[in-house]
């Protein structure tokens, strides 16, 4: 059995009276691509910041790559590539200097890897940060997160602002690093990304973890997505009852067409979020 790269036990983090996350526990195994789903304000970034030692939490324990985040924070950061949701750098610095600065701070020469990443992501290293669009700043952020070939990637909504071609290139890179043994923790609210690239996923809502499972199991619920044309009218709905009753009900109508299938992850997501 592979060892856990991320182990979070009973994490509770509040900002004064404001909720952060409550009693959150999850594990991510070595070599996994793990999705972390939740809407804005659910506690995704708080969880990530606690994982990386950027926010002090009130209760719980976090181990990253077998190290305690409270006592070995710097060593953890050395082996993690983190891409924040907002890509901010020093505006008057050139892209090349930002990338080199990040590598120097790690005490590494990442020149070759950085060149390869810049080429594949089409990053113009001669430009100043202030001249870059959000998408291009995101690309610089990807290079900074990947150039030192970390054991664990932590991405916080990485694809917002990237065009579809770059999104595809980004995930291609993740899959390549993953094939070499890297683990990836992908926080996102883009469900299609999680469905396509992640093996397991956790769903967080209002600071609490409400479900952790394989993406396959998350989509395999008793609920069915039904699209039917009956009595001349088209209907599209999620059915959660007994399938026999559904069929009996359909038989009593003039059905021109019917499709009954597993719900999409999006629908599962909405199912979890629409409960209250």
């Amino acid at each position: 059995m592979s060892k856990n790269v991320i182990e979070i036990q009973n994490l509770t983090k509040n900002y004064g009276k404001n909720r952060g996350v409550t009693n959150l526990s999850l594990t991510v195994g070595e070599g996994e691509i793990f999705g972390f789903l939740g809407p804005n304000g659910a506690g995704k970034s708080t969880t990530i910041r606690s994982m990386l030692g950027l926010a002090r939490f009130q209760e719980g324990e976090i181990q990253i790559l077998g190290m305690d985040v409270k006592t070995q924070g710097v060593e953890i950061l050395r082996q993690v590539g983190y891409m924040p949701s907002e890509a901010w750098f020093y505006p008057d610095m050139r892209v090349r200097d930002v990338i080199r600065y990040a590598a120097k701070m790690r005490g590494m020469d990442c020149g070759a890897e950085a060149e390869m990443l810049c080429e594949r992501l089409q990053v113009d290293q001669t430009k100043k940060i202030e001249e870059l669009s959000l998408g291009n700043r995101k690309k610089v952020s990807i290079v900074c997160a990947m150039q030192h070939k970390p054991k664990l990637f932590v991405f916080d909504e990485p694809t917002s602002g990237l065009d579809p071609l770059m999104q595809a290139e980004f995930f291609k890179l993740i899959l390549e690093y993953n094939a070499k043994g890297a683990t990836c923790f992908l926080s996102s609210h883009v469900l299609s990304e999680v469905r396509k690239y992640c093996g397991r996923a956790a769903i967080i809502r209002e600071g609490k973890l409400i479900k952790t499972d394989t993406v396959e199991n998350l989509t395999k619920t008793s609920a069915k997505h039904v699209r039917v044309v009956k009595d001349g009218a088209e209907e599209d709905f999620i059915y959660r009852g007994n399938v026999n009753e559904l069929l009996r009900d359909l038989a009593s109508h003039d059905v021109a067409d019917v499709v009954i299938e597993e719900p999409e992850l999006e629908e599962v997501f909405m199912h979890f979020y629409g409960k209250e």
């Binding site: 924040p84 901010w88 750098f89 600065y101 701070m105």
Partner: protein, 261 residues
């Protein structure tokens, strides 16, 4: 020391602007002495008899008609005020600029402890102020030499050292403010420097608030006192050292426990 080098590089432009403006202006005033010497000798007595104003700026103890007096009452005061303002701006920005510029998330995830970030940024403050003072004093030595005046080496060194302590005190207080803030506190920093300067001027003429001399760092670095060999106020210096230590300790306490938001 990568962060230290990075900070030094990023602050170089600001340093050069402040240095060239303040020291350049002071150096220019030294060179101007020969052209204003005659009029100053006429006005020296008038300046010395302006009551509280003379006392506030030390013109009752030295004559502006001499090069030493002119330097102590006019030029050194300008240098101290400018240096204090530079220290305030430098200190008040160094930590908080990462937060209001949103670069803290980039910096904080690099494998450097917050303690090291704080130390290297504070070393940047010390280096900037030290270089400002060393090259400033050297320029004034050059100025005295160019004017053919005898160089008051001892007085210039004491002035340079006490002003450096003053700038470190203001810079450290503002560094502490910066650790507690997420916004650009340049205005607060400049305010601190100006209030301290006003305290020095007023506590010299109003006996009721004389004790402010223990609060304001401009008191112990007053060039007129230095050039008239007034004994260094040890109490004020001890308080200054304590203020520096407490400010840096408070900054560290806050910065090390601060959450990234």
């Amino acid at each position: 020391m990568v962060l230290y080098a990075h900070e030094m590089k990023r602050n170089l432009k600001g340093f050069l602007i402040w240095f060239l403006v303040i020291v350049g202006m002071c150096f220019g005033c030294i060179l101007l002495y020969s052209s204003v010497e005659a009029s100053l000798s006429d006005m020296g007595d008038v300046f010395a008899k302006m009551g509280a104003m003379s006392k506030a700026f030390g013109m009752d103890r030295v004559s502006v008609a001499t090069m030493g007096g002119y330097f102590a009452t006019e030029i050194a005061m300008l240098h101290a005020l400018g240096g204090g303002m530079f220290a305030a701006i430098l200190g008040s920005n160094l930590l908080s600029k990462e937060e209001f510029g949103h670069t803290i998330e980039f910096l904080a995830v690099l494998p450097v402890s917050r303690g090291k970030i704080l130390v290297q940024k504070y070393l940047c403050v010390i280096t900037n102020l030290l270089v400002f003072q060393v090259f400033g004093v050297l320029c004034y030595v050059l100025g005295f030499a160019v004017m053919g005046e005898s160089i008051p080496v001892k007085h210039l060194l004491i002035m340079g050292a006490t002003q450096l302590l003053m700038m470190l005190e203001i810079g450290s207080i503002c560094f502490c403010v910066s650790a507690f803030s997420k916004k650009n506190r340049m205005g607060v920093g400049l305010g601190v420097a100006m209030i301290f300067f006003a305290m020095d001027v007023t506590c010299r003429v109003i006996p009721a608030i004389e004790n402010l001399k223990y609060v304001t760092p401009f008191y112990y670095c007053n060039a007129t006192d230095v050039f008239t060999d007034v004994k260094l106020p040890v109490g004020s210096v001890i308080i200054a050292v304590c203020a520096i230590v407490i400010s840096v300790a408070l900054a560290a306490w806050q910065y090390l426990r601060k959450d990234l938001q």
